[in-house]
């Protein structure tokens, strides 16, 4: 056992379940070792004057039909019960190893036969196999050991096969094979040592199963035979006298239960500690970290919705989203203010973790109830999204707000046909009947340029290509009459040619119906193709808000770094792409001052002390930086501004 393994065993023992199970198993094992010697005499002491007595001070669980003390018989039976269970487990592991390694040793054809037999045997419940083998090997302890063992063998065989398949494809095995080492030798030297650990863990669980199985067989009278006795045999004797002295059956049953549970729990907690249990997973939440003490940024003096005409589709002021975490809430979005007008296309860009997707979810009211959304104002088409969920609001959102998600492959319900998933919206929100809703779905699929929409609507998502799925997703948003499409990285999961089609489709819809678009992206290239305006987010705040064609003249050093990191046709091939030094901020650990300070080339004392507010700059951008100014020649990453909208260098130097 190497140090890593030892460490993991220790970790198992530190969990309450692991510790309890280990202590119980140790007690049971100790009883099995010392059990019979001190108690055998009392366990076998016949007392005909005291037959089938109930529990008393002298006999805690009463006596059996020969007046023998039940408690002592249960204690004395520990050794046989545990011993037989371990023997059966050994048989199971051994037979499982033989069957499981056979495919490796025997070559393809014979191996496939063995695998097939194991596959069939494993479909039958263990007890059925045990009964079968109990008939073949005869009634009695030896027969039962073989029966229980062989009944458990298929499970172990498959485990060995699976584990071997995982290890056998590794390089060192291939190397040994190339070196001409025999298959048997490879098995012993390289394969078995690598699968020993999970085998031991599963054998522990298996021992618990064998113990229970053995108790079952003995309880049926097919296992241990009188005068010998294990727990199962004691139950067999006790169940008949249940009405006279119930403890005669209950005491051994408790012993079986306790020992079986202890072995099972130990196995399970070891498996869990070793990361083998896929069933019980902790929710993968955002890193729990100390609460961010960051003082709320001063409210933006100028709300983007100032020119609030009826034109504004989405109006967001001082939006904050926080999630509870183990050590205080974390805030992926910290005071975001913006507005989108009818037909306007606005992009939110930033690195992962900048809060852009959370912002999108918050404005679409899709933050899970665990998250807390606060805002001074959060209006979509004049409806206050901060109000509690209502049928009216659901209907409004369901038909006026369209969502397009990043991964079309996982965003459709795999068990429902596409048409039905589209039609659902209309059935719920527009009170259409089944047929009318389906017809609408077909029509919308046609609108997003899916050929043969009648047939496609009857297909499942997995029958669609990635680009088609994304188009169908957009079509789903068009089931109503959306005023705003929120698209969260809609093209990231698609290949380049399909990306273009999706972007063109979004643009076409936008211009045709004057639909506003909120596009979340990390890709400045995509954004500048589609959007009018860009919101640059960093660490949960908007650091710059600028027209797309002004990206080359960004005022915030982070925006400049982002645009410089985009490869372009004319990027010099002999130089590495500029990257932004340092790491994105952990939303759980936000500093007092400017969040970008640690990575910023222009950082000063003030940046670390005070968080700059998002303010309107004379150039028309909104920017949050104490050093906001057009780029200097020296820090331009030799990257001439794109889109031909960049000012000449001379202009840059004037500020």
């Amino acid at each position: 056992m190497n140090r890593r393994t030892a460490h993991r065993w220790l970790r198992v023992l530190r969990t309450p379940m692991g510790r309890t199970a280990a202590v119980l198993v140790l007690i049971v094992l100790a009883l099995a070792v010392v059990g019979p010697s001190p108690w055998n005499a009392r366990a076998d002491a016949v007392d005909t004057a005291n037959i089938l007595a109930g529990p008393s001070a002298e006999h805690w669980a009463g006596t059996d039909n020969l007046g023998r003390d039940i408690v002592f018989r249960v204690l004395a039976a520990t050794r046989l019960s545990i011993g037989l269970a371990l023997a059966a487990t050994a048989v199971a592991v051994l037979a499982g190893l033989l069957l499981g390694t056979a495919p490796w040793l025997l070559g393809r054809r014979a191996g496939r036969l063995v695998t097939g037999v194991v596959q069939i045997a494993i479909a039958f419940p263990g007890l059925l196999l045990a009964l079968f083998f109990a008939v073949v090997f005869g009634v009695g302890a030896t027969g039962a050991v073989l029966a229980i063992g062989l009944a458990g063998a298929p499970t172990f065989a498959r485990l060995v096969q699976t584990l071997l398949a995982g290890v056998a494809s590794r390089d060192f095995v291939a190397a040994a094979q190339v070196a001409g080492v025999g298959r048997f030798r490879i098995l012993l030297r390289h394969l078995l040592p690598n699968i020993a650990e999970p085998l031991v863990v599963n054998a522990t669980i298996g021992a618990g199963g064998a113990l229970l199985g053995f108790a079952g067989l003995s309880f049926l009278g097919l296992g241990v035979q009188a005068p010998a006795y294990d727990w199962g045999r004691l139950m067999f004797d006790g169940i008949g006298v249940m009405y006279v002295n119930p403890a005669a059956a209950i005491a051994p049953a408790l012993a079986v239960l306790l020992a079986g549970l202890a072995l099972n729990l130990l196995g399970e907690s070891v498996a869990k500690g070793f990361g083998m249990d896929a069933l019980v997973g902790l929710p993968a939440s955002v890193n729990p970290s100390p609460a961010a003490p960051a003082a709320p940024a001063p409210p933006a003096p100028e709300s983007a919705g100032d020119d609030a005409s009826g034109d504004v589709v989405l109006d967001v002021r001082d939006l904050t989203v926080s999630f509870p975490a183990a050590r205080g809430p974390i805030r992926p979005v910290r005071g975001v203010t913006f507005a989108i007008r009818r037909g306007e296309a606005v992009a939110v860009v930033g690195e992962s973790g900048s809060g852009k997707s959370v912002t999108a979810l918050a404005v679409s009211r899709l933050i899970d109830a665990a998250g807390r959304v606060d805002a001074e104002r959060l209006h979509l088409l004049g409806t206050d999204l901060r109000e509690p969920d209502s049928a009216v609001q659901r209907r409004m959102l369901g038909s006026s707000l369209a969502m397009v998600f990043q991964d079309p492959a996982s965003s459709f319900n795999p068990t429902q046909r596409i048409g039905r998933q589209l039609a659902e919206t209309s059935r719920h929100h527009h009170d259409l009947g089944r047929r009318a809703a389906f017809a609408r779905a077909v029509d919308r699929l046609r609108a997003v340029r899916i050929t043969d929409p009648e047939r496609r609507a009857r297909q499942y998502p997995h029958e669609f290509s990635g680009g088609m799925r994304q188009r169908a997703m957009i079509g789903m948003g068009l089931m109503g009459s959306p005023a705003l499409i929120v698209a969260d990285e809609p093209t990231t999961a698609l290949d380049v040619t399909v990306q273009r089609q999706i972007l063109e489709l979004l643009t076409a819809i936008r211009t045709a119906d004057d639909v506003a678009l909120l596009l979340i992206s990390h890709d400045v290239g995509v954004v500048s193709e589609v959007c009018d305006r860009v919101l640059v987010m960093y660490a949960g705040r908007i650091v710059e808000d600028l027209p797309t064609d002004r990206l080359g003249a960004a005022l915030h050093p982070y925006t400049r770094a982002l645009t410089a990191a985009v490869p372009r046709m004319d990027s010099p091939l002999d130089r590495p792409l500029p990257v932004i030094p340092g790491r994105p901020l952990d939303p759980a650990d936000v500093p007092v001052g400017c969040a970008y300070a640690d990575r910023c080339p222009l950082v000063s004392e003030r940046c670390r002390a005070e968080d700059p507010p998002l303010e309107r700059h004379p150039s028309g951008h909104r920017v949050a930086c104490w050093h906001a100014r057009p780029p200097l020649a020296g820090e331009r990453h030799d990257d001439p501004a794109r889109d031909g909208a960049a000012e000449p260098a001379s202009v840059v130097e004037t500020s």
């Binding site: 059925l128 229970l212 169940i239 209950i250 069933l279 068990t415 659902e424 719920h428 990635g466």
Partner: protein, 335 residues
Amino acid sequence: MTAAPAPAAASEPLLVRRIAGHPWARFALRRAGRLLVSLWVLVTASFLMIHLVPGDPVRAALGPTAPAALVAERRTALGLDDPLPVQYLDYLRNLLGGDLGTSIISRLPVSEVVAQRLPSTLALAGLAFLTAVVIAVPVGVVVGVLTRRGHGRRTEAAFTSGSIVLGTIPDFLLGVGLVYLLGVTLQWLPVAGDATPAGYVLPVLSLAVGPAAILARILRVEMVAVLDADYLRTARAKRLPARSLYLGHALPNAATASLTLGGLILGSMVAGTVLVENVFAWPGLGTTIVRSILSKDYPLVQAIVLVYGLGVLLINTVVDVALALLDPRSKIRED
């Protein structure tokens, strides 16, 4: 992988080819093939059982004092003196004709004994499975919703440990406990036989509680995973009511994953009836097989093993078909 199964094969006029190329047909063929092979292994194993027993099975059954002439007569009646291949073919032929042989002990036709005992066992197993599902599905779904990501940490911990403990208590031990508690101590319910409907309560509970706990636990884990899936966010974005979200979108997806396990549980429930029947003196196949193993009535044992095995195979097949129906990808994923 995303390519649709090409029905556009216009150059394929042959109907047979069309059908054989259809994913459903392929699935059905493959599944039927697997069932047949398993069936053959089962029948062969049950045939071999009597020959794997060391010594003379008839002598063992009739005891050392039985006259040699009687033993010889029974051996001939069972066909044990014929060459093995002949016996095998006879066995298969008889099986196809519904003849399961004759009990060595009672001389009754085995098929008669099975027919008389099977209904009780079926009723027990069926009721237990229904009970387990009726308990597990609502509990799993509700707890899953309550403990979805970022919710109900304490509920989750309590539910998980509770269901683990309940799920690991073997059915027959639970049966013994229930007999003690509700039968002997409180005397609320009968503890033996299926004469009255009340007689079903304890055996059904003993069989159902463990599987219900396991099933509910799996279903909860699946629900939590599904509730966090992208397509559920899509469904939420459609602003569907909760009932439609949880029952319409989440449950079918969680169920496909739980169904495989449900099949295994149902299969082991078939075997579990053996032990539980013996706790409650249930007049089913389980008490019969144990009695016949002890009295070495091999033809009867063979037949009952066959019936149990058949039950398990049928359940597995039904589960696979249900999976294929519920999850349109599974039949394709298989090849």
